[in-house]
Symmetry: C2
Subunit: 481 residues, 2 copies
C-alpha cells in the first residue's frame, strides 16, 4: 500500500484521543467518522478506556489487534511526543494530527512540533498537520474531520491551510451536489507540505481539478516546481492570502505561515500554470468551470443575451479581463438577420430582447459554429411559468409548477451542453434562477439537476467572464507546455 493510499483509502483506522464527552473533538470527529459510514476497521483509543457511539475504547495502541493503516490523533500537545513514539513502535506509517498548540502559538510549541517530525521521519511515519481540521475522502467513506460535513464523492480535490475555509468550500460543493474527491486540511505542514498533496493529486484518478487555499509556503521553490508539473495534468485553482501586512500577520498567528510578496507570487504562479481566484466564490466557480467546460482554444468570445444591461455588464467584464468580444463577421450577421427582429443590434453581444427559448438556442449555435469565436457566453435562460412563479402559487399546484420549471431549466442546459459538445467550445451560461419569493429551494433543485448534466449556472456576467478568462489562461499555459 502506497503512502497516500494509507491516508485516503485506509482499510483500518485508529483514533487516538477518543472521548465520550460530546463537546470534545475526541467525540465529534469520531462521530463524523462513524456517521460518515467508514467501512474499514475502526479502533478508538483512550488510556482511561470508556465508550461512545457504540464503540468500546482501547486503553492503548498496543491493545489494538492489528497495525492500522492510519491514525487520527487528537491527544493534547503534552502527550504528543509519546503518542508519536507509540505509533512508530506499533509500525504505523500514516498519521493525521488534528491537535493545535504548536508552531502557531509559541517557540516551545515549535520545538515540540520539530521533535514530532524528527521522530516520525526517523520511524518512517508521515504526518498531516498538526493544527488541522482533518481529512475527507468520500470515495472511501472517510470523513475524519472536525466539522460535521459529509460532501458526496466528486471530482474536486481541496488542499487548504485553513480548516474553516475548507469547510466553506465543502459546504458549497455539497449544496450543488458536486461533492469532492479528497479534502486535506494541511495545518502547520510540519511534515507533509501542500506540494506533497499536489504531487499525489496529480496522479489521483478520482480528482479532476484541485482547489487550494494557501497562506504561505514552507518550501516555495519545490511548491512551484511541483505545481508546474501538476498543472500540466490538471488545473490548480488557488486563493493565496497574506498579501498585505495585516493579512500576513494574521497568517503567521494562524498557521505559522510566511506569506511572501504578492508580485513575486503573481509571476511565479503564472509560470506554474496556477489559476488564481480572488475570493471563495471565484474559487468555487473555477472549480465547477474546469469540471463542466472544455478548455477554449483562444480568447474570442461571442455573447448572446436576453437583456441589454446584462450584455453591457458582460462585454465590460470580458474586455476588462483581456477577452476579445469579437466583431461579428458578415456571415454570422446574415444568418442572424434571417430570424431576429429587424431592429436587432448587429453587435456582439447579440441582444435578443427577451427572445424565445428557440431563438436563443439558434443564436448560441450560430455563434459557436463560427470560426470567429472560441467560446460562447449566454446570458439568461428563458423558462415557462415565469409570470406564475412571481404570483403566489396555490399550494396544490406548487409541486407541479416548480417541477416543470426545474425541468425547463435542465432542458435548456442540456441543449447548451449539446452545442458545446458539437463544436468543442465552452458554452457558458450566467443567469438568474427563478427565486420565487417563498421557495428558494427551487433554485437549488435547478442547480443540482443541471450539475447532474455536468453543467453549472453562474450567477452574474462578471463571474462567467472570470471563468472563461481563467480557462483561456490555462489553455495558453498548456500550449506553452
Amino acid at each position: 500500500m502506497t503512502e497516500f493510499n494509507r491516508f485516503f483509502a485506509p482499510r483500518s483506522l485508529a483514533f487516538l484521543g477518543a472521548s465520550s464527552d460530546t463537546d470534545k473533538w475526541g467525540y465529534r470527529i469520531l462521530s463524523n467518522i462513524v456517521h460518515g459510514g467508514f467501512q474499514g476497521k475502526l479502533y478508538p483509543v483512550n488510556p482511561k478506556g470508556g465508550e461512545a457511539l457504540g464503540l468500546r475504547f482501547y486503553k492503548s495502541l498496543e491493545e489494538v489487534p492489528e497495525v492500522p493503516d492510519l491514525v487520527i490523533i487528537v491527544v493534547p500537545p503534552i502527550a504528543m511526543v509519546d503518542t508519536i513514539k507509540g505509533c512508530i513502535s506499533k509500525g504505523i506509517k500514516a498519521g493525521v494530527v488534528v491537535t493545535a498548540g504548536f508552531a502557531e502559538v509559541s517557540e516551545n510549541g515549535a520545538a515540540v512540533q520539530a521533535e514530532m517530525v524528527a521522530l516520525a521521519r526517523k520511524g518512517g511515519m508521515r504526518l498531516i498537520g498538526p493544527n488541522c481540521f482533518g481529512i475527507l475522502s468520500p470515495s472511501a467513506r472517510l470523513y475524519a474531520q472536525m466539522p460535521p460535513i459529509f460532501p458526496p464523492d466528486g471530482r474536486i480535490a481541496v488542499v487548504s491551510q485553513s480548516g474553516n475555509v475548507g469547510l466553506t468550500i465543502a459546504r458549497r460543493a455539497m449544496a450543488l451536489d458536486f461533492g469532492c474527491s479528497r479534502m486535506i486540511s494541511i495545518g502547520n505542514e510540519a511534515d507533509l507540505h501542500a506540494e506533497d498533496f499536489l504531487e499525489y493529486l496529480a496522479g489521483d484518478d478520482k480528482t479532476s481539478v484541485i482547489l487550494a487555499y494557501i497562506e504561505g509556503f514552507k518550501d516555495g521553490r519545490r511548491f512551484f516546481q511541483v505545481a508546474r508539473d501538476t498543472s500540466l495534468k490538471k488545473p490548480i485553482v488557488m486563493i493565496k492570502v497574506g498579501e498585505t501586512e495585516a493579512g500576513a500577520a494574521a497568517a503567521r498567528s494562524h498557521t505559522a505561515a510566511l506569506s511572501g510578496s504578492s508580485e513575486v507570487f503573481g509571476g511565479i504562479s503564472r509560470q506554474a500554470g496556477i489559476i488564481r481566484a480572488n475570493n471563495l466564490q471565484e474559487l468555487m466557480n473555477l472549480g465547477y468551470g474546469f469540471l463542466c467546460h472544455p478548455i477554449p482554444k483562444g480568447r474570442r468570445v461571442g455573447i448572446a443575451t436576453l437583456g441589454g444591461g446584462w450584455g453591457v455588464l458582460a462585454a465590460d467584464a470580458c474586455a476588462r479581463l483581456g477577452l476579445d468580444v469579437v466583431k461579428l463577421p458578415r456571415d454570422v450577421i446574415k444568418e442572424l438577420d434571417s430570424f431576429l427582429p429587424a431592429w436587432w443590434s448587429r453587435n456582439n453581444p447579440v441582444d435578443l430582447v427577451a427572445g424565445s427559448a428557440d431563438d436563443i438556442l439558434r443564436v448560441v449555435d450560430i455563434l459557436a459554429k463560427s470560426d470567429a469565436t472560441d467560446s460562447v457566453l449566454t446570458l439568461g435562460v428563458p423558462f415557462p411559468h415565469m409570470a406564475r412563479m412571481a404570483l403566489p402559487v396555490k399550494e396544490e399546484e406548487k409541486k407541479q409548477v416548480f417541477q416543470s420549471v426545474v425541468e425547463a431549466y435542465t432542458k435548456s442546459f442540456e441543449q447548451m451542453k449539446a452545442i458545446s459538445d458539437k463544436y468543442g467550445k465552452p458554452v457558458i451560461v450566467a443567469a438568474e434562477l427563478p427565486a420565487p419569493r417563498a421557495e428558494r429551494s427551487v433554485d437549488q433543485d435547478i442547480m443540482r439537476s443541471i450539475a447532474r448534466q455536468n453543467m453549472v449556472c453562474y450567477g452574474m456576467p462578471d463571474e462567467a467572464a472570470k471563468v472563461l478568462n481563467s480557462m483561456a489562461m490555462y489553455g495558453e499555459f498548456l500550449k506553452r507546455g
Copy 2:
C-alpha cells in the same frame, strides 16, 4: 400635485395600448398593475376596444371620464407621435413610454423620439423612457413594469438604465424582504434624465439609499452637480458600465448611451460622493449596508473571527482596500486575556478558534468599546444544532430544529445590533448560513428574519470589507461636505 407625485403616487392611470393577448406587453404590464393591487382609477385604452383582466378597454383617451394623473404607453412606435398629441390635448402631465424602437435602433427612431419630446415639452408633459421597463412604487401599490415582480415597500430606490438589471436588483431585494421605495427604468432618457430622479429621490421621504445602474450620461455636468447635492442627503451607490470599448459599443446599441472614459468618471464620482459598486452583488450589499449600519467615523477596524482562515481573508481584504486593521491596544489585549484561552493570538483579527456565542459577543463588545476602533467586523455566527443540521433531520423534527436555528441566528444578530447601537459604530457580520443539504430555505428564513431587525449577513469577508470601506469613504465625503 407635483410632477413626480404624478409618477409615483398617481390617483388615476390610463394605460394606452391595452391588449387581451397574454403574450403582449399590453396585457402583461396591465396584468402587473392589476395583480399589484393598484388602488386608484385604472383606464385601459385600445382603439379597437376589447377587454382583459375584468376591465373593458376604452376606445380612446377622450372617452376616459377624467384627466388621469399618469399614462403608461405601450403603443407601437408608429403611433407614438399621435399618442403624445392626444395626451397633451387631454391635459395629461406625466407619461411612461415603455415602447422601444427609437434612438437606440436608428436615426429615424431618434428623429421620432426628438419629435415626441418637443411635443411633450411644449405641452407641459413629462416623459419617462422610451425603451424602458416601466416604474414601480410599492407604497402606492403601483407595479407598472414589464416583468412580473412585486417587491414589497422598502427604503431602497433604484434608478436603472437597464430593465433587466433593474429586475435583478428587485428580485434580490425581494428575496431578503428589504423591498424598494421606487424603481425607475429610465430607458433612453429622452425627456427626464437619471439626474432628475436623483433630485426627486433626494427629497423623497420613502427613500434612504439610491442604487443606480448607469451606462452613460445625457448631461454629465448636471448629473454630477445633482449627484453631489443628493449625496449630501443620502448615499448613491452606482454601477457604471461601458468602460471598455466592447462595453461602450454594447451600451450604444442598448440605450443609445455615450459612456465616457473610466478615469474621468472615477475622479468626478469621488468628488460627488458617489459610491461605486463593481458588480451587482456589491451593489446590493452596499444598499443593505447603508440601511443597516451607522456611518463609521474612520478607517480603523477591529476583527473578531471564529476561524483563522476567514480572519486572514478579512485582514487581507480590509488592508487592500485601505482600511486600517489596527494593532490592538494594551488595554484591549488585557481584557481579552481575562477569558480567552492562553494561546490566543493577541493579534487583530482576534481568532476565537470556534469559541462560544458568549465569547464572541464579549470580544465584539470589547473591540467596539475601544477608542482604537471605528468599526467591528465579525466573522462567523455560532449556532446550536450545527451537528444535527449536518446529519439528516427526521421529517417530524425538521420544523422545530430549523425554527430554533433561525431563532438562534436572529438572536445573535440582535445582540450584534445592540452593541452597534451602544457604541454608535458599525458591527458588520460575514458568516456562512447553515445551508443544510436539503433545506436551503432555512438560509432565506434567517436572512429575512434578521432583515426585520434591520441587519444583514454578508456572505464572505471580502464583501463585508467592501461595505465597510465604502461606508468609510462616504463618511469622509460627508466630513468634507
